[in-house]
Each structure stands twice: as structure tokens, then as C-alpha cells.
Amino acid sequence: MSVARRWSISKLLIWIFLFVGAVLCVFPFIWMLIGTTLNPNDVIAGVLVPGKEFPLNWNKAVKNYNLPQYFLNSLKIAVITVFFGVIVNSLAAFGFEKYRSKARERLFSFFMLSLMLPQIAIVIPLFKEMSALKLLNTHAAIILPSIMSPFIIFFMRQNFQMFPTEIMEAARIDGASELYIFFRIAFPSMKASFVSAGIYMFLSQWNSYLWPLMTILSEDKKTLPIAISSMMRAYTIEYGAVMVIVCISILPALVLYLTMQREFVAGLLGSVKG
């Protein structure tokens, strides 16, 4: 009996621990949702009963805080980065994995070396370069440097190891060009890997803060993260409206995570697969 009781007490402790952990993880999200319906004072005071101010907060977010503009800026930048990024990086990864040579192997290690480079060390000279190229305060300044990603090249190369080389030889005998093999055979048969890479690139661009903060000056070109941080700088802060904007800024990632959990996590875990 004592064994049975000890077993159930440890079970109970485990469940209490997990329950508390789960509540702590979810609570800020619930508080955020409630906050979108409250007036600014109630947000800070931590009223936990939904209010009636959601339409008002939404209006303030849209009209006073220019939410649609920031949202569209972020979306445009992220989508363009993903489109070119997935093509450029997976092409390179395919080249490194399937057309091996000593020179390419060396170039690959050279790329991987920059994975260890802290962002802050790159962005300062990069800022001067962008200034010389007259690209400061443009979305191109955000998009161009983030298309090539050593991590995505690494991730896709790992994945292409599973793509059988025999298929490529068979396709070549049938007269297929190398680009045809990549776009028409490799791409459709490895969709999940491409989706993972795309999600990863989308999120890192959607969430990126430091570099846009450095390069973007005008209000109408700001992305969501830098717009949100400058809202917090104001003398009076419409906390309810800020809650709406934070909520919207989390939404794409949340939807991607809940609908494509496997691909979402695969991208983040990619680095340990090897």
C-alpha cells in the first residue's frame, strides 16, 4: 500500500509541476488577449476580466498607431526575403551536397564560420556600406543582407543528403538539365524541408529588430518590432492599443506554429540533426 501511495504522490507532484509550468507559459498570452479589451489604466493594473474597449483599442491601433502600414511593411519584407532566400540558399545547399568539389567544400566551411560571428560585429560596418550604397532608410537595406543565410544552407544541405543521387542520374539520361532536376524533381519531393526553411526565414525576418532599428528612420517605413518599441518611448502610451498591436505581431508565428508544428519545430531543431 505504501508503495502505491508513494507512487500516487509522486504522480501528483509531477502533475502539479506541469500544471504550474503550463499556466505560466500560457498566462501572458491570455493576459494579452484580455488586455486588448481594456482601457490603458486597467491594462497596467492587471484587470483580468475582459472589458468592452476592443473596438476603441482597435481603432486607436489602426488610426493613431498606423498598424496596417507597419503590418504591410513587415509582411512585404518577410515575404520577399523568404522567396529569394529559400531559392538562393537551397540552390547553394544543393550545389554543395550534390556537386562536391574541394573548392566548394572550402567555401562551405567559410560560410559556416560566419555562423559564429555575432550580429553586432557585422551590422556596424554593414551600416556604413549601406550608407555608401545610398540604401539607408529603404526596405532593400533590410531585405538584401538577409537573403543569404549560412544556417539555411546548412539546414538544407543536411536535408538534401536524403535526396537520392540515382534519381538525378536517371533524369540526366532523360536529358534533364541540372536546374530542371532542382526545381522539378528535388523541390516537389522535399517540400517539407523547403517549408521548414521558409518558416524559419519568415520568422527571423518578421521578428528582426536590431538591423531595421539601425537602418529605418521614417515612420512610414517602420516594421512592426521597431514601431512597437518606439510606441513604448512615448510620454502617454495607449496600452490597450499596444496590446492589440503586440497581439497582431505574434499572430503569424502563432498560426504557423499551431498549423504546421512539425515543420515549424524542424527548422528550429535543424541545427542538432547533424
Binding site: F29, W31, I44, F96, A121, L126, K128, Y209, Y239, L269
Partner: protein, 279 residues
């Protein structure tokens, strides 16, 4: 096929690195620059705030990473072996904080941790504290706030790594341990922990590199590294040297070399430990 990536790499990564080699020897004032040799490095030696900031990075590492890794390990083991139902749902929930952008959760936590805010209200109502804590105004509590926030954001992330690691452990090992009379706690220390060592090391190294580059949270959550530089980090200080305070890009470059050096050292350790994994 590797050409487009190589061209982009040359323009936006390699060229800036080369350019930084000349920038580091210059003093910038607005758009003018003058050659000062190693002047930036001698100036750095006397820059108390920079060393304080770097000290903060190490403090966050030393305290936050062990707490987070331990919590992530406990959660992973509990999900893997402690329960039979609800595993999928709980995994989804614990990973949820990782979908928030660093700025979104920093803003959220900034509101939550106000002195007259929700967290203090809850703690007072539960009789845990008598008077509100100045989470964002007191140097000690501001550091604690950053540590709590980082732990909230990243524990689930590391937990997922550990879960994958745990699933790769053959269950026969546990059966053998049970036959030998090892209880659950002994099994954890003698079987689970040694077999997870490579994954744990990987997590630690990734976390160290992340903490070394910490910038979003101290800039937004505790506001510009405040109070009184209590949460200033090296990366944030460098950013402020170049963009907020003096626009001295030469000095900022010199400071960033220190971070490169430290990250390089950690990377070396990483290669050594990951190399051991392959053996």
C-alpha cells in the same frame, strides 16, 4: 548553383568584415573619420561602462542558463517518463513562448512588471510580498526581471531539444537499470543525464552565444539597459555608442571585436565538445 549565395555573402558579410579592419583604427565624428591606430583599444581599457556591461552578460549566463537548463530537463523528463496522457498538448504549451518575437514579449513583460502592475498585484494578493517590488527601477530586481523573462522565453525551446534526445535513448537501458534495482532518481542521474550530455552541452553553448548577443530585452524590457546600466549588455552598449550617443563607429567596431573574440573562444569549445560526440 552556389554563385548567387556567394555573391551575396561577399557583398553583405565578407566586405563588411574587411571594412571593419580599417574602421577599427579610426575615430568617427559624424561623417568624418581620423586615423588613431590602436587608440580605440586603449580607450576601451578605461571604459568602465563597457566592462560593467560585459560583466552583466556573464552574470546573466552564470545564473540564467543553469536555471533554464535544469527546468527544461525536468520538464522533458516528466513529459517523457512521468505521464501517460497529455504529452502532446503540454509540449505544444511549453513551446508556446518561443513563437513570440523578442520585442513582443519584452513589451508584454514590461507592462506586466510595472511597479503598480499585475505581477506585483498578484504577489501582494497572495501575501508573498508586502510592498510592491520595483522590478524595473531597482538594479537588482531589473537584473532578476531579465533573467525571469529569458527563462520564460527559452525553457520550452531547450525542452524540445531534450525531448528529442530522450526519445533517442533505448528503453531497454532503463529496463536493465530497473532490473539492477535502480530507482527513478538513480536512473535519472546514472542513465539519463550521461546519455543526454551531448544535447545538454549543445543547449548550453547555444544559450551562451545567445546571451553574449543579448540586446532586445535590455533595450525594451528594462529600457536602454537601465536602471543606471544595471542591465546594460555589451551588444546594447556597442549599438548605443554607434547610434545613440556618439555615432563613433570606429570605437563601436573595436568593442564588437571583444565580443567576436569571446564568441570565437566559446565556438572553439563548442567544436571540441561536439567533436567528442562523433567518437
Amino acid at each position: 548553383m552556389v554563385t548567387p549565395a556567394t555573391i551575396l555573402y561577399m557583398i553583405f558579410t565578407f566586405y563588411p568584415i574587411l571594412k571593419s579592419l580599417t574602421m577599427v583604427t579610426q575615430k568617427w565624428q559624424g561623417l568624418r573619420s581620423t586615423y588613431i591606430g590602436l587608440g580605440n583599444f586603449t580607450r576601451m581599457m578605461q571604459d568602465k561602462v563597457f566592462w560593467q556591461a560585459l560583466g552583466n552578460n556573464f552574470l546573466f549566463m552564470a545564473i540564467q542558463i543553469p536555471i533554464m537548463i535544469m527546468l527544461a530537463l525536468i520538464l522533458a523528463v516528466m513529459l517523457n517518463q512521468g505521464i501517460k496522457r497529455g504529452r502532446g498538448v503540454l509540449r505544444t504549451i511549453f513551446f508556446l513562448p518561443c513563437v513570440t518575437s523578442l520585442i513582443a514579449y519584452s513589451v508584454l513583460f514590461r507592462m506586466l512588471f510595472q511597479t503598480n502592475g499585475l505581477l506585483n498585484n498578484i504577489l501582494i494578493n497572495l501575501n508573498i510580498i508586502n510592498a510592491p517590488i520595483g522590478w524595473l527601477n531597482d538594479p537588482f530586481w531589473a537584473k532578476a526581471t531579465i533573467i525571469i523573462a529569458l527563462t520564460w522565453r527559452w525553457t520550452g525551446y531547450n525542452m524540445v531539444f531534450f525531448l528529442v534526445g530522450l526519445q533517442n535513448i533505448n528503453s531497454e537501458i532503463y529496463e536493465a537499470a530497473e532490473v539492477d534495482g535502480a530507482n527513478k532518481i538513480q536512473q535519472f542521474f546514472k542513465v539519463t543525464l550521461p546519455l543526454l550530455r551531448p544535447v545538454i552541452l549543445f543547449s548550453v553553448v547555444t544559450s551562451i552565444s545567445g546571451t553574449m548577443q543579448l540586446i532586445d530585452e535590455p533595450n525594451v524590457l528594462t529600457w536602454e539597459g537601465g536602471p543606471a546600466n544595471a542591465t546594460m549588455t555589451a551588444a546594447l552598449y556597442i549599438y548605443r555608442q554607434a547610434f545613440v550617443l556618439n555615432s563613433d563607429f570606429g570605437y563601436a567596431t573595436a568593442l564588437s571585436y571583444v565580443i567576436v573574440l569571446i564568441s570565437g573562444l566559446f565556438a572553439l569549445i563548442q567544436m571540441k565538445t561536439l567533436g567528442r560526440r562523433d567518437e
